[in-house]
Structure formats: structure tokens, C-alpha cells
């Protein structure tokens, strides 16, 4: 079953069939060839139950929030402000890419929205200032992945939902690793640009007064982060509900800056519907595939395989990491999570690991999947936004950041406290 599924996946994806549809096709294939039961009869119920879901409505809310910020020009202000603060570093604006992505991660729940936001704002600058297009766009793709690690995060919501673990705790757990990743991205950029200065474009130093003025531009987004996280930790709202607070917070900020008009609202709504439908087709397809896989006994197949290996808990984690790295090349990230969580998480928890910690580890691996070819959503989003050059450039540019993520995986395994410290302290 596993080999034929892999082949099927590659062929269908190679034919450029929409990813969500590919997941359905694989489900039909498994139903036809590997399951004696008429699973397709359950198709309608799977579609209904997956989409009739109050937790998942956080997806359109967080996407809408990001859309409003971009379209009302707040993202551009943030980018310009961060430029004042970080462009003296070797690598210049590349750091602004990462820092803006980090800030937007803090308000936006999705990596796609974050990457799209920063790419839209940043790309025109790259051409003006003569940056290496590979590093520049790779940094955006990588920085954008922080959206699913730094709270709020759609993927952590899905993880918490599927594993019945606390979403606020997951959000807390993602904070330190997320910030460490951001710093790691900046460190690797400095290193690369120190070795090969031609990658980095122009370094610019701004006077202190300008830096301080820029700080004021950053306030709205910091405020918004405070509002979202505050309502969750004061116990006023669930993370999903906090997303609605964020939407109106973003509207208020846009109005405050005098940038809110019907056009902004209309385009934000349209963008939200498009992205939500895109994500949901994949999520629904993944649910159906997962349903067929479980029925055809993939879980049991994997369990027996792993039991047969007689792994130590650490061995198990390393195997799991390997599985995610490999699957991450090919499978779209939400699908990857939805498909694997019911199979992998029980194994990991049974081996004595903390589900919150594993959620964070999985998110790093998922972040990696977002920027590894051939299927890496953020690569496509950045490519889509930059409207020039070849896809391959973004892929090459993302490689250094993939290495940082691998280092983060190792760190998290060596020191689980990186994730668990905050949730345990603030419990």
C-alpha cells in the first residue's frame, strides 16, 4: 500500500492536478484497491463533518486579519520601519524580510498569509537595491513559515484539535522556539553575507531619530499581538474566538491610520474566501484520505513495522523526524499534519513524550516542508508574489534556512524545555 500510494501521489501531482483533488483520488484508489469496504459511501459525511467545524473557522478569520493588514498598507509601514532597524546588518533588507515575517507571524495564523504579506511588500525593494534574488526570496519563504510557530497559529489549532491538547499551551510552547528560529535565520544570513558580500545588496545605517520614529509604526502590530494573545490568556476567549477579536482589531487599526475603505474591505474579503477555499479543499481531501488510510489499516501496518524495529523512545523520535522530512518534500503541509497526527502522535505519546512538545517539534518539521521542493507552498507563494525569475531560485535561496530548521529540530530533541518552559511556568 505505501509504495503504490507514493507512486500515485507523485504521478498525480506531476500531472498538475490540484493538490486537494489528488488527496481525494488517492483516497478513491485506496478504497478501490486496498479496502474491501465501500468507503466512498462515507465521502459526503467526511466532507460535511470536516467543514462543519467551529475550530477551523479560525482559518478564514486569521487570513482575513492578514489581508486587512496588507491591503491597508500597515504591512508596508512595518516593513519600512523594520528596515530602519535591521538594515545595518550584513544582508541588509533580508533581515527586514525575516523580522517583518516574524512580526506578522505574531498576528497572522497562517504561514501562507505571512509569506504572501511580506513577499508583496518586499519584492519591489529587492530589485531596486540589487539583492541576490535567491537569498532574498528564500528568506521570505522561510520567514513566512514562522506564522505557524509563533502564536496564533492555524496549524497549532489543528494539532490541538486533533490531539485534544490545550491550544493556549501549544501557543505558549511555540513562542521561544519561534523566536529562536527567527534569530537563527538572521544569524545564517549574516554569516552568508559576511562570506559572500555580493549576496547582500546595500547595507544602510539610519540615524537614531529615524529609528525611533519608525518604532511608532510598529506599535499597531505589537498592540494587535497583545490584544489577540491577551484575550486568550485572560481567559476571555478561545483561540478561535480571539481570531475574531483580531479581525476587528485589524479593522480598527486600519481605520485609525485612515486606510480603511470599502475597496480594502472588499479585496480583503475576496482574498480570504480564495485562500480559505484553497486550504479547505486540501484539509477536506486529507480528511477523506486519512479516513481511507485508517480503514485500510495503515495505522496497524505502521505500528507493527515500528514495533518490529524495537526502537528506544529516542530511536522512535529520530525515525519520526526522518519520516516527516521525507514526506515533507512531497505532501502539502496541512495534509501532512492531518494525515500523520492520528497515526504518529499516539505512538510518540505512548513512548513517554509530551504531546505539547511533540506538537512544536512537528511544527518545525512542517515549516521545513513548506520550503522544501517539489511541494512547498511558501515557495510557490513567494514565487507568485515576485512575478519574475525562476522557481528554482527561491528553492536554492531557502536551503540555508532549512539547515537552521534542522538545527532547531536537534535542539528541541536535546532540550525539550525550550518548548515546555513557558507552558509549565505560566500554567
Amino acid at each position: 500500500m505505501i509504495p503504490s500510494m507514493t507512486v500515485g501521489l507523485l504521478v498525480f501531482l506531476g500531472l498538475s492536478i490540484p493538490v486537494g483533488i489528488v488527496l481525494f483520488l488517492l483516497g478513491f484508489g485506496i478504497d478501490t484497491f486496498f479496502s474491501p469496504f465501500p468507503l466512498v459511501r462515507g465521502l459526503g459525511n467526511m466532507v460535511w463533518s470536516t467543514s462543519n467545524n467551529p475550530t477551523l473557522i479560525a482559518i478564514p478569520f486569521f487570513v482575513l486579519l492578514g489581508e486587512i493588514l496588507v491591503r491597508s498598507g500597515i504591512a508596508a509601514r512595518t516593513y519600512a520601519a523594520l528596515d530602519r532597524w535591521v538594515s545595518w546588518l550584513p544582508g541588509g533588507l533580508v533581515h527586514a524580510n525575516i523580522a517583518t515575517a516574524t512580526m506578522f507571524s505574531a498576528t497572522s495564523g497562517s504561514s501562507v498569509a505571512t509569506a504572501a504579506t511580506v513577499a508583496t511588500v518586499a519584492m519591489p525593494q529587492a530589485e531596486k537595491l540589487g539583492y541576490d534574488p535567491r537569498l532574498f526570496s528564500g528568506a521570505i519563504a522561510a520567514g513566512g513559515t514562522l506564522g505557524i510557530m509563533i502564536p496564533p497559529s492555524i496549524n497549532l489549532i489543528v494539532y490541538g484539535f486533533l490531539t485534544q491538547s490545550s491550544i493556549p499551551q501549544l501557543f505558549l510552547a511555540g513562542l521561544i522556539p519561534g523566536l529562536m528560529l527567527a534569530l537563527g535565520f538572521m544569524a545564517v544570513t549574516v554569516l552568508l553575507c559576511a562570506i559572500r558580500p555580493e549576496l547582500g545588496g546595500v547595507r544602510r545605517v539610519f540615524p537614531l531619530a529615524q529609528m525611533l520614529r519608525a518604532l511608532a509604526q510598529l506599535l499597531p502590530i505589537i498592540l494587535l499581538f497583545g490584544i489577540i494573545v491577551g484575550t486568550i490568556y485572560r481567559g476571555w476567549a478561545t483561540p478561535t474566538e480571539a481570531a475574531s477579536v483580531g479581525v476587528f482589531g485589524a479593522l480598527a487599526i486600519a481605520a485609525l491610520f485612515g486606510r480603511l475603505d470599502l475597496g480594502v474591505i472588499r479585496e480583503s474579503l475576496l482574498g480570504t474566501v480564495k485562500v480559505t477555499a484553497m486550504i479547505m479543499l486540501v484539509v477536506i481531501g486529507a480528511s477523506f484520505l486519512n479516513f481511507t488510510l485508517a480503514s485500510a489499516g495503515l495505522g496497524a501496518e505502521l505500528q507493527t513495522m515500528l514495533d518490529g524495529l524495537g526502537l528506544s523512545p529516542m530511536g522512535l523520535i529520530l525515525v519520526v523526524v526522518g519520516i516527516y522530512v521525507v514526506l515533507g518534500f512531497f505532501i502539502e503541509t496541512l495534509s501532512l499534519m492531518v494525515v500523520t497526527i492520528p497515526i504518529i502522535v499516539p505512538l510518540v505519546v505512548a513512548a513517554g513524550f509530551d504531546p505539547v512538545w511533540f506538537g512544536i517539534l512537528m511544527i518545525v518539521l512542517i515549516e521545513m516542508a513548506l520550503i522544501t521542493p517539489p511541494v512547498g507552498l511558501n515557495l510557490y507563494v513567494v514565487q507568485g508574489a515576485r512575478k519574475s525569475g525562476r522557481m528554482g531560485e527561491v528553492m536554492v535561496g531557502a536551503v540555508p534556512y532549512v539547515l537552521v530548521m534542522l538545527a532547531m529540530v536537534a535542539l528541541l530533541i536535546a532540550m525539550p524545555q525550550l518548548a515546555l518552559f513557558l507552558p509549565e511556568t505560566l500554567r
Binding site: M46, S49, T163, S166, I167, G235, T238, F291, A294
Partner: protein, 326 residues
Amino acid sequence: QSETLSVVGSWSNLPLHNEYEAPFWSQTLPEASGGTIDVALTTHNQMNLGVGDVYRLLGEGVYDVAMTVADYAVADAPELEGLDVPLIAMTADEARAMVEAARPMVEDIYRDRFNSHVLAIAPYPPQVVFCNAEIESLADLQGLKVRASGRMTAQFLEALGAEGINVGFGEVPGALQNGVVDCAVTGAGSGYSAGWWEVSTHLLPIPLGGWDSVVTAINLDRWNSLSPEMQTLIADTIAAEFEAPAWAAAQDALTSDIACLTGNGDCPAGEARDMVLVEVSDADFARAREVLETTVLPDWAARAGSEWAARWNESVGAAVGVSIAQ
């Protein structure tokens, strides 16, 4: 003639599945059949099924056997709510008597609504109350915010003057700590292993959420396709080797789970905690019955229809001494 049954179990992380369902379907039954029955076992959460879909898909013949909490299916069959009424069965023996009395009703409901045949009804641990608030009796729930699931429990709380709040299981500890809810209802064992004792002080060890009966059923067409010998084999084996032991262990499990939470007695599961055990008085029971008879059950009778209310009065009602005014 050998048969393969595809079986969808209940929550894979709970003891009922791990200690009873899984061994029964993967070992006991195949062995008892002398190898003529082969089982492919998974669980509804591993399949990522919506809990409301489990019996719908069973009826469609997507798989052969399914088991889950009957309460999950009441959207499609309001009359099924009568299987699991809060606070009318205090002990496992009483709960079993209630379920036995309801069994013919349940069988008819599953046949007509879900095209399936009931094989067994086993209990989840009773759904007890964890409070992060000083309470001394059931009446003290008045004015408190309580996390509970299920319509009947919500209506019961409302009738007591409490406010029902919907919070996901994973969010409960935070909600208890922040005061989003004052109390929350779940199985004593689940609450112990999920660490609810860290964020709550008082334990009201009464089944406010009922016993959450888990119904095992087989698709009716599939059942009719089996030979009479095989039907008898399955029915007898499941009654003796799954249903009976699951019920037998239920009371002891509750006693030791409560001991784990309050420190009154042995805790085989690990370290005992020190929640305050709230003794429930006769006045509390009387109040509960009154609320059931005057508000909650008549409402249910209106939803399910008067024939079901009459049947309930003759069976379950007679067994537990409660009667719905018609």
C-alpha cells in the same frame, strides 16, 4: 465459511478501548471462532470521523461494526437520549439495570434509524463534576458556569440555575483556572490523567453527565448475511467476554479513580491527589429527580414523541422509579 469484519472502535485513548474492545475484537472473538472470523480493527478517532457520523456510516455499510457513545448519535435519533439520563443511576449496578431495561428500545432505534443490530452496551466511567469553587451540594451549582456536553445535561444544568458553557476538552484546565468555567464534567479517570485536579478543588462524584453508554452495533445487512451459528457465536461471546467484564470493572474503576483524585483510598494509577470530596445528600437526589421529572424529561418527551415517553416509563422509568408526566 470465514468472514472478515471491519470494526471501528471507540476513543483509542480510553481504557474501555484498550482494556476491553481491542483485546476482544483482535484476540478473543477470532480465537473463539476457531479462525473463521477475521477482524480489521481501527477506531473512529484514528479514522478522523466526526463523532456524529459513526453510526450513519455504519448504516450505509461503510464498515461492519461500530461502537461509540450513544449520546453522539442523538442528533439523528432524539429518542436515544432516554438511554442516558443524568443522575438516575448512581452506581454501576443501577446503570446496568437502566441499560438492560432500555435495551429493547435501543435495539429498535438502531434498526430503524441506523440500519444496524445492537450487539452490546458497555459503560464509559460516569461523567462527574470537577469544580474550582467551594461547593457543598448540588444546589451550590446555581449561578456557576459549568462545562458540559450534550443537550440533556445542558438542560439539566439550566434547570438547576447553572450556566452551560461549551469548551473543548483540551481547553478545560485553562478555562477552570481563568474562571471561564467554574466546573467541568468528565469521567473521573480522564480528569485524573488530564490533570484537572491541578486546577480544581472540589469533586462532586455524581454522574451529572450520565454514564455515557457505548453501543456496539453491526450493520443489519451484514448481520443478516452471517450464518445463524456465527450470529449466536458473536452474540454470546460479546456478552460474556466484553460486556460483562466491562460492567464488572466499572464500579471498581470509579472507586479507585475517585480515590486517586481525593486521596481517600488506594490509587493504582499513580500518585493520589487531594481534591475535596463533596458528599451528596438525599436532598440533592430529591432535587435532581424533581428537576428531571418536571423539566428535563418532559422536554425530551416533546422532542422524541409521546410513544417513546410511554415506552420509557414502562421500561427504564420502572427500573429506576422515575416517571414522565404525560
